[in-house]
Amino acid sequence: MPPVLIIGEVTPDGDAASITGELIAAARPLADGLGVELVAALPGTSSQRAAATAITLGADKAYAVEDPFLDDPSAFDAHVAAAQKLCQEIGPSIVLFGRTITGRDVAPRLAFRLGTCAANDCVEVKLDSDQRLAALRPVFGGSALAWVRCLGDVAVVTVRAKAYEPLEADATRKGEVVNFSPGLGRDAVKSRLVERVKEDQTQGLRLEDARIVVSGGRGLGGPDPFVHLEEIAKLLGGAVGASRAACDAGWVPATLQVGLTGKTVTPDLYLTVGISGASQHMAGCAASKNIVSINKDGDANIFKEARFGAVGDWKNILPAFIEQLQELVK
């Protein structure tokens, strides 16, 4: 019986990255529904430990896929070739990847090699009544949701990070760990990493990890007002984000962009100033616990998703808001 395969990820320290557990949690009901094995693959240079973890997280069998060419998350050519070899070996009916730096390039390329295409960035997967895989995808920038059915011989899906909670780890679970070396040669690699440059100079708190995020948009009118947002972030122990409009205008670095093509944040408090709430922006922040917005247009879309709204010009609202905050956190 063709198994369900998840392609997990290995951290630089050799642990299973969190997406691995999320994929296993997404795939477990599929494998059970089909009555087949759930196989996890952990590609890297040293992935034994991550493979063993995959078993505790719910996989029936785990492949430690090891090759010197799999040394980097951006070694896409090698990751595609390794996944292809593994698929030849085990012939899965469903392959799940994470929608991560690696998955977003590797999964579709594997799919095309297998004669199909991927269902990308899915937030839910299930079996239809005819046992075909159906996947729920936000489309049109998140304005709509689409169920797509995978009709090919193999279903290839990328699952959005954090769409699934990992199952509880159970150290007593039994399962086979298999060593698999794809034996990649230089010919598998067509593009080469030359250098990597870190530009985000943020000290300490990362935007993605912050419990409080203060984001500014085009309504701020320029780079200078962002100092107010920084002040708020500092007062509350949060981080500053931005809409694409503010990033594209060059007011703040592109690394601050929140949204469909920027970062995904899930803070307890997401405070926006001068952001209209376009669906592509909300795609990156809608899962925040509380959205609070300051905007001079009371009909702005952002208020449809906000818990609290302050309608008015930020130039008048922010100084008093900050003054009051200072008093409160004193």
Partner: protein
């Protein structure tokens, strides 16, 4: 060495239409075209055209724009020509409907690129803003056996190679591949140029080449992804608007409300 560059550009519904204009016909599984809001060239594909034009300025050569669809708004899809592209090829056929089935789209585009024959670089957008599939470019690369580098924000060509700065969440990385290659660009590449008046005049006179599925000799592949439902998600949050005698008071009350709700 002059460069033959092919840009794949798609016509899409305007993704920045007001939320109130966005309506889904769930039975037909279609977005209803908004009244009075014309379609646009996919934003990232305008970045791709810009990238191609900049490379042509340095290396000379030719920029050919390729677009697939069942129907086009000619004045919209001609925009790359008015920006300065040399040629526009419409892959137009009733069978070329807009679907989330990227296997189909990539098959048709790859067939057209084969028919064009000579190319050094194929530039695509990072994703089409309708289905957000972000894989047609990867499919073209796989079908043609070419290297592919995604999410470009800067592209340089020399010595038969392409060097691409790829966007990362905390910076960028430089990847290199031999030509011919496929590259996708992101908005970080920079604003696409506005068409000049002269460009618009020239584009009016230029007629696109049209190829049907028969011209391409392409066999329509078996469907791989089928749309089974399309709907607008419910948003059930009730916003509480903060009151105050003036905007400063609203600001103060907002801070107090955040404390009351234990958000700060």
């Amino acid at each position: 060495m002059p460069l033959n560059i092919i840009v794949a550009a798609k016509q899409v519904l305007d993704p920045e239409m007001p939320a109130s204009a966005f309506k889904v016909d769930r039975d037909a599984k279609k977005i209803m075209p908004p009244q009075g809001i014309p379609p646009v060239v996919n934003g990232f594909d305008e970045n791709a055209v810009e990238a191609a034009l900049q490379l042509r300025e340095i290396h000379e050569g030719k920029v050919t724009v390729l677009t697939m669809g069942a129907e086009f708004a000619l004045d919209v899809i001609k925009k790359p020509l008015s920006m300065g592209a040399d040629e526009l090829i419409l892959l137009q056929d009733p069978a070329f409907i807009n679907t989330p089935d990227s296997f189909f789209t990539a098959t048709v585009l790859a067939a057209a690129i084969k028919k064009i024959g000579e190319y050094d670089l194929i530039i695509c957008g990072r994703q089409a803003s309708d289905w957000d599939s972000s894989q047609v470019s990867l499919g073209i690369a796989e079908m043609l056996g070419l290297p592919v580098i995604t999410l470009g924000r800067k592209i340089e060509v020399g010595d038969g190679k392409v060097l691409v700065q790829r966007v990362l969440t905390d910076g960028y990385e430089v990847m290199e591949a031999s030509l011919p290659a496929v590259v996708t660009v992101s908005n970080e590449f920079g604003e696409p140029r506005y068409p000049t008046l002269r460009g618009i005049m020239q584009a009016t006179r230029k007629m696109p080449t049209t190829w049907t599925s028969a011209d391409l000799g392409v066999e329509i592949p078996a469907p791989q992804l089928e749309l089974s439902d399309l709907f607008v998600p419910e948003r059930d949050r009730q916003c509480e608007y903060i009151e105050g005698s003036d905007e400063a008071a609203i600001g103060r009350n907002l801070a107090l409300k955040l404390r009351e709700a234990k958000l700060i």
